[in-house]
Symmetry: C2
Subunit: 306 residues, 2 copies
């Protein structure tokens, strides 16, 4: 089983409007709701790829109930969320009907008590025993110590379970020092971590900070990977817009537990990212687009730092 | 008891962000939730003024449960909402921390079945028997006939209960033909109804279409009233920004059931509107601001159409 950890789960709401104009009123023409938070997105993609997956993190309040009800309907997904007194946050994505551009509003999340954080750590240690890989994903809600991911990375390494860290800011800075197997920053997270906006230089520098491998996402420009086995660039044939909803992380984990070589993991991640983007409001990704793109991702190796 | 009808109740969510920039991501720094929908806003103000008030309309789903839980905590307010299978909509107001300007996103509301609409009509007829006045407020959710308010106006008139209609668009156009005692359009609703952007001309014209009195709101420019007893303009001393959250309608109803003359009703409505605007995220209005402004509203009579 693959384990994903999402401390800041969300009820992910998407609104379609004609055009978003600040300081005016809008009638929303279409509302969709799905379970969200980065690790939940990753788990949905993994389950759709046929993996057994367990989801842990926090859930509470009416929004948490909706998240759990929806997760219960996903085949192959085990809900191991820890109940909390606060309410799971909402994220609101406003999709502009004319341009397709999106605007995000992310609530901060419920205040987690020390007892709730301890309960999550216990659940995590229990689940590690049967995990083939683990992903630690997304932001931390208020009350969770900023070094939380560093501790979870060390526990995974102690248990011999490959661990992927998919977050940004200070949680990434602290977490990378605990030597995760893979980190998957986007361009902004990578620049914030390294201080460099030069993609290859920043990717290589991030690896020096403690990650065994770095796979950085540059949106339509694809992925850049720095690993012990080499450096690669993976670009899908199309140039999709917007966020990949956990697809890169899911693709890498899926390839890792199947023992694929790095170029094949990267092709899978890049094809999934493009397929996820093709169906932003749907659950997970578009299988037809994914299968069509998988053989057409260009993975070029032995790129060298300028 | 004063009765307010809100077919499209809402869970009203307010987000504070630093600055709303379309097509970017935002961390919400503050989240507030309150029961919403225009007639619910009116009822909260009336209850705070010391009136007994009953609220009907539809409520359903997890959002409807939150609305009902919150209403149960309001002293003097009777919850007579009709349960429905669909979920009560959300409205999201994004407040810009720098300018205080707001951006609204209104969900359309749940699909109402014919049986649910019949149940609301029965509840309404029951409550009319003990009502001293009734306000029909806001938009209609999908499934409710567009002529719904016209029927509710006629039933109130048949029962001898003064009826105020506070809506816009086609529901207002249909409803006004049934001869409500008061309508309370804002500038946009008035212009859409009459085709005129000239305030006094449009207010007088709206009255000719069937309303016994018209009280039109022009935001910071105050109120314009065309009634059988005369025409008045009411302007608060300050020039507030933003929406009045049911305060004008509540002020007029409150003055009506107390038998106040029109100028006093208008002063109350204008002072409440300014006081509501001073506390947009709070429940209802700011009592200190209201009491301070009440004696300082300028009500000028015998305005004549240009």
């Amino acid at each position: 089983m693959i384990l994903t950890v999402t401390p800041n789960t969300a009820l992910a709401i998407t609104y379609r409007v004609a055009t978003l104009r600040p300081h005016t009123s809008h009638r929303v023409s279409e509302v969709t709701e799905r379970p969200g938070g980065k690790g939940v997105d990753v788990a949905r993609v993994l389950a759709a790829l046929g993996h057994e997956v367990a989801v842990t993190g926090f859930a509470g309040g009416p929004t948490g109930r909706i998240v759990r009800d929806r997760l219960a309907a996903v085949p192959g997904l085990l809900d191991a969320l820890v109940p909390v007194a606060g309410a799971t946050r909402r994220t609101v994505t406003v999709a502009d009907g004319r341009t397709g551009d999106t605007t995000r509003l992310d609530e901060p999340g419920p205040l987690i008590t020390p007892a709730e954080w301890s309960a999550l750590q216990e659940t995590y240690l229990d689940l590690l025993g049967s995990a083939s890989a683990v992903a630690l994903c997304g932001s931390l809600p208020p009350g969770v110590p900023v070094g939380a991911y560093a501790g979870l990375v060390r526990a995974a390494r102690a248990a011999g379970v490959p661990v992927l860290l998919d977050t940004g800011g200070e949680p990434l800075r602290r977490g990378i020092a605990a030597r995760p197997d893979v980190i998957t920053p986007n361009a902004d997270e990578l620049a914030e971590l390294t201080g460099s906006h030069e993609p290859l230089r920043a990717t290589v520098d991030a690896r020096r900070r403690g990650a065994r491998a770095v796979v950085a996402s540059f949106g339509p420009d694809g992925l850049l990977a720095a690993t012990p086995e080499g450096h690669w660039r993976a670009a899908p044939p199309a140039r999709p817009h917007g966020g990949a909803a956990g697809a890169v992380t899911a693709g890498l984990l899926s390839g890792l537990v199947e023992g694929l070589p790095w170029p094949d993991r990267l092709a899978r991640a890049a094809a999934l990212a493009a397929a996820a983007v093709a169906a932003p409001a749907a659950d997970g990704f578009d299988r037809g687009v994914y299968e069509e793109l998988l053989g057409r991702v260009a993975v070029t190796g032995e790129v060298s730092a300028a």
